[in-house]
């Protein structure tokens, strides 16, 4: 049935896409966290009290 191939393609696409994105985001996310914390620790970004 053609539906089987649609769901098979979507499942394989999910596994491939998800694996790739996990590795990529795991690396780039660390850089994002470091940048975010660096910007937040700069003067003027603290409490105004």
């Amino acid at each position: 049935m053609p539906e089987h191939w649609i769901w098979w393609s979507l499942t394989v696409a999910c596994l491939v896409w998800y694996s790739t994105v996990t590795v990529y985001v795991a690396v780039r996310g660390v850089i994002d966290i470091k940048g975010m914390l660096r910007r937040l620790s700069q003067p003027g970004n603290g409490s105004d009290d």
Partner: protein, 494 residues
């Protein structure tokens, strides 16, 4: 007997310690309410993708999607396809999200105040919190059910497991707010993804694709692959879920909070487009798990509760070592969801419902104290609501009905606020009234024995949801047109 060995326990323990340390460590960067609620708008693209993905996949997600696979076959993943399309469309075109992010607000109701007045802002805050908390109310028990079943613990430990999970999440969320949520979400995204992928590959290797499709064909025929041919789905299921998907993408507070925490509008839209395919993954992967449970387990093993079929399967086929990764992954999924949800509803309570009281005049220190107290109170509410609410029927149906209490009206208000100059407070109030009344009436009728059959079998959740959107939209148009033009004052922010 517990299915967790010492190796599994060590993996889970290591994960929990790492999460707590990371979550608590960033509390020192929280100096303002803006840091606490939206991370000072310093979130970048990849952190946003990790956080959104981790937030939108909890144990509850895994449970209802797997149940959908067990009960409907591959057609059960249809909402995932619709959500992915909606996410990509909104991110690519900037539909509503661009004007929302450009407005520089912290919540959606804050935007409404600019066009529709402060009363609509307050009322919107109330329905958002009402729908959101009712929706989240079943997360804890569902998560506890999964963990107890997979780990092989006695049912009497369910409440203790739920409480311990919630307290640990509440600790770092109260201390670090959105900053802790983002950092722990990142960690949880990695752990969760490794676990999900590993278990999916294990299932496909053990059960096999051919057996999965044969099982769906045997139980559901063509309807198991095509929602339009499924006897319990049909066009009304697809239409209701398409409406829900678009509304969720536009106004689901946890999703919107990532848009508003992004460093700029472009980043926020990129988080949408690049996370869109994950919304298919978050449905299709557990649907495959649910179908595998249908293929492997006998009806006697499943019992009457199809929600527990998938965890029962996992408890049988996942080996030592991978079991630890699975439990850590699902704890990660649940903790990231719980923390984000607690924070997001607290942000609406603080920013919109309490707005008439603080009027932006409270000091940052007082604002932080109040925000943290609200998170703690939400945690207490969830604990008690999760313990006593008896879930009837399909979990996904419950979530869509409770979500629609505000998704319908808020999406109508948002579209009208951004693109219809004639929209005003009369129309908004009507949309909120109809948007909340229909789902609440359905929920009540579902619980009352004399109306239960009518609500579940004759009306059904799909038609109830479609009616909610149609009535909310009609109320917005009619109410806005009824209000005399001369009094339609449009307040613009400089």
């Amino acid at each position: 007997m517990s299915h967790l060995g010492w190796l599994d326990g060590s993996i889970v323990g290591l994960y929990i310690v790492a999460t707590m340390v990371a979550g608590i460590a960033v509390r020192k960067y929280v100096g303002k309410v803006e840091h606490f609620l939206i991370a000072g708008r310093e979130m970048n693209l990849y952190l946003g993708i990790a956080s959104l993905a981790a937030t939108e996949f909890g144990i509850v997600t895994c449970m209802y999607t797997a149940q959908s696979g067990y009960n409907n076959g591959f057609a059960g993943a249809t909402p995932g396809i619709l959500a992915a399309l909606a996410m990509f469309f909104v991110g690519y075109t900037g539909f509503c999200v661009k004007p929302l992010r450009d407005a520089g607000v912290m919540t959606i109701p804050e935007l409404f105040e600019l066009r529709l007045g402060s009363r609509i802002r307050w009322l919107s805050g109330v329905v958002i919190v009402l729908g959101g908390l009712l929706n989240m109310g079943v997360f804890l028990r569902t998560g506890g059910d999964f963990l107890v079943t997979v780990c092989g613990f006695d049912q009497k430990y369910l409440e203790i497991t739920m409480t311990a999970l919630l307290v640990s999440v509440a600790v770092y969320t109260i201390l670090g707010g959105m900053l802790s949520v983002l950092v722990t979400d990142f960690l949880q995204f990695v752990v969760m993804s490794v676990g999900l992928l590993a278990v999916t590959i294990l299932i496909l290797a053990n059960v096999g694709w051919g057996r999965l499709t044969a099982t769906v064909q045997e139980h559901y025929g063509a309807g198991g692959f095509n929602p339009f041919m499924h006897p319990k789905m049909g066009w009304e299921y697809v239409v209701a879920n398409a409406m829900l998907s678009l509304a969720m993408v536009l106004t689901w507070q946890t999703t919107i909070q990532r848009l508003l925490a992004a460093k700029d509008t472009r980043t926020g839209r990129q988080v949408y487009t690049r996370t869109s395919f994950f919304f298919l993954c978050r449905w299709l992967i557990p649907v495959v798990w649910g179908i595998a449970a249908l293929a492997v387990l006998t009806p006697e093993q499943v019992g009457g509760n199809t929600l527990l079929a998938m965890p029962k399967l996992l408890s049988q086929i996942v080996p030592v070592g991978l079991m630890g990764i699975l439990v850590a992954a699902m704890l990660a999924a649940d903790m990231s969801t719980d923390s984000s949800y607690m924070l997001t509803w607290s942000s609406v309570i603080y920013n919109d419902i309490l707005a008439p009281f603080h009027k932006r005049r409270w000091s940052e220190k007082r604002g932080l104290l109040v925000s943290r107290t609200i998170v703690a109170l939400i945690g207490v509410f969830l604990l008690f609501y999760g313990l006593w609410y008896p879930l009837r029927g399909n979990l996904w149906d419950y979530l869509t009905v409770t979500g629609n209490i505000y998704l319908s009206s808020m999406s109508v208000l948002l579209v009208a606020c951004c693109y219809w100059k004639r929209a005003n407070s009369w129309g908004a109030a009507g949309a909120i009234l109809f948007g909340a009344t229909i789902p609440i009436a359905f929920l009540v009728m579902e619980q009352v024995p004399s109306t239960r059959h009518f609500a579940r079998e004759i009306v059904g959740p799909h038609f109830s949801n479609i009616a909610t959107y149609l009535f909310a939209g009609a109320a917005m148009v009619v109410g806005s047109l009824l209000k005399p033009r001369a009094k339609n004052v449009c307040v613009e922010r400089d």
